[in-house]
Subunit: 332 residues, 2 copies
């Protein structure tokens, strides 16, 4: 394993310290317990807090700022943050209209955010993101995983919260976007968790993992490596099928997000976008909004995910509104 690090145990603190210095105009970083807040505490609004294991940067700390999250609590790499982090950050940011947790659907995150919620002295609610259509709901798993679609939830609910909307209205928009969003990822290589020092899974030069999770969880199947058009074709078909299964036909305006998992060049992401856009256009979609880049990563995995969000006027309006965070910025 070759990585830019000193002691593995210090990696998160050193990286977050750099993040805090680089974006000192926007965010404040707290340690013991670890959390990231906006530099200027918001007033009289629903407070949006997300969090999860590190290694998915810029998710979530990179989305703290005006128009998006109020705070994030990062855990160690691929490790859930603890309830005391969540409680402390809620107390530090609460702005008299309640707390909305945005939680990706993983067992550890769900359990810890639930524990924190039970102890919270404020009104609270949770939006659970589960956009990964690679994994079918099952009684044997915690179900669909939250992946890059979480960025769309955080952006749009963040916009709504700035308008002074109440807690249940914010939660309802988050749940609606999650319902109207599907993602699927593919890995060409494994990620390497620094504390493990070796790749999470083995994959040969002639294989890919279709439906991989953002921690390197197994996907739908191990497949033979092939041309991008064929890979992207299968990814788009899985997304279309997911909308069909939800009885929500994929027609009309969509947001298309092509997300790099960490080590995939932008040139390849745009090539994936090109194919996905053509296929979705042929399916009857109009690509009204686009985002291409590394927005929800899996450390250093070579791979990419495709996310489609079925837009409506409300979602579009909140996607377009002003946002000023370290990783997403427009309108200001």
């Amino acid at each position: 394993m070759k990585k830019f690090l000193n002691k593995v145990d210090n990696m998160l603190v050193e990286s977050l310290s750099g993040f805090g210095t680089a974006h000192a105009d926007l965010v404040s970083v707290n340690f013991e317990p670890t959390f990231v807040t906006r530099k200027n505490k918001a007033k009289n609004k629903v407070v949006l807090i997300s969090g999860g294991g590190s290694g998915h940067e810029p998710l979530h700390a990179g989305y703290v700022g005006k128009g998006m999250l109020d705070a994030a609590c990062p855990g160690q790499v691929f490790t859930s943050p603890t309830p005391d982090q969540m409680l402390a950050v809620a107390e530090a940011t609460h702005a008299d209209k309640g707390v909305l947790f945005i939680v990706k659907n993983y067992a550890g995150d769900v359990m810890n955010f639930e524990m924190a919620a039970e102890m919270l002295p404020f009104e609270h609610a949770t939006v659970l993101t589960s956009d990964d259509c690679a994994v079918i709901n099952s009684t044997y798993t915690t179900g669909r995983r939250g992946v890059a679609g979480t960025v769309i939830v955080e952006k749009c609910v963040g916009s709504l919260a700035e308008t002074g909307a109440d807690l249940q209205t914010c939660k309802a928009l988050g749940d609606k976007i999650n319902q109207r969003t599907a993602s699927i990822g593919v890995a060409l290589t494994s990620c390497t968790v620094p504390a493990n020092g070796k790749p999470t899974f083995d994959i040969s030069e002639t294989e890919l993992e279709m439906g991989v999770g953002i921690h390197g969880e197994p996907g739908r199947r191990r497949e033979a490596m092939r041309e991008a058009d064929a890979i992207v074709g299968d990814m788009v078909a899985a997304i279309v099928a997911d909308f069909t299964a939800k009885n929500l036909p994929l027609k009309g305006e969509i947001l298309l997000l092509v997300n790099g998992l960490g080590a995939t060049p932008l040139m390849e992401l745009y090539l994936i976008y090109n194919t996905a856009a053509k296929l979705l256009g042929a399916h009857g979609c109009q690509i009204a909004r686009s985002l291409v880049g590394n927005y929800t990563t899996a450390i250093d995995m070579a791979g990419a995910s495709i996310t489609v969000c079925l837009l409506d006027e409300e979602i579009k309006q909140h996607w377009d509104s002003e946002v000023h965070t370290p990783a997403l910025r427009w309108g200001c």
Copy 2:
């Protein structure tokens, strides 16, 4: 080699097509010859045109838009664009105040932009970027390479050109920034050029290449892999020494750019930033502006570069001004 591509020969066209679709509100992509222009042609200003081999995305096409470049001409991966591309794009964008080429200092790019310039029927000038302090000027090489500092030149000269400044004033600012900027890169892995199908150079699990170029050119030396603080310490020392050698002491306000070369996680880039910021602060610098992310890449290389620009009020003003491109956006 595992990459998201179809036929290697079609990779650039497919990727640029996706880029053009994803950013259709900002840019237009032309083929035969290949160039990228702003969607809305600027009027009555110096036109800024850059270009070079592909594989460094978002450089340069990602910086086409208001407040930055008017156009870019991408070559094949790591291959200079041709004079006919440069001529065609100059003719398509010329806005009555002359053409400024921004060229990274590589033999092929320099030669082709010179050939194009000779044929240009408009007033023209060139800013040659050469911020890479890993390579000392020598009669045996084309000298210092242009690397990530080029982004700062393109941003600030782009801002100045929007004000209606004349050609020589724009060139002078570009030359000044280049003179006040130094960069150095380090590679942990090689990049893989798609048409070659194998890594450009061999490097073991226990080595790094200090001073690597953005095409995988050799740097100062092959070294033993070690802790990030030690690596970053050597990089910062090389930058400080470069300013000293230029008789331009590195004190006061700086812009610190930590740039990923393609496959390095953001978490590591912020860790590098953390160390670099501390060292530069201890040296007497005030880090007034920061940028951390993938801005000038080497395809899929794991590695990073550090760029320091010694600010003055003029550079700071043009750095801060409104910019709206696919890859850099603020103030609008």
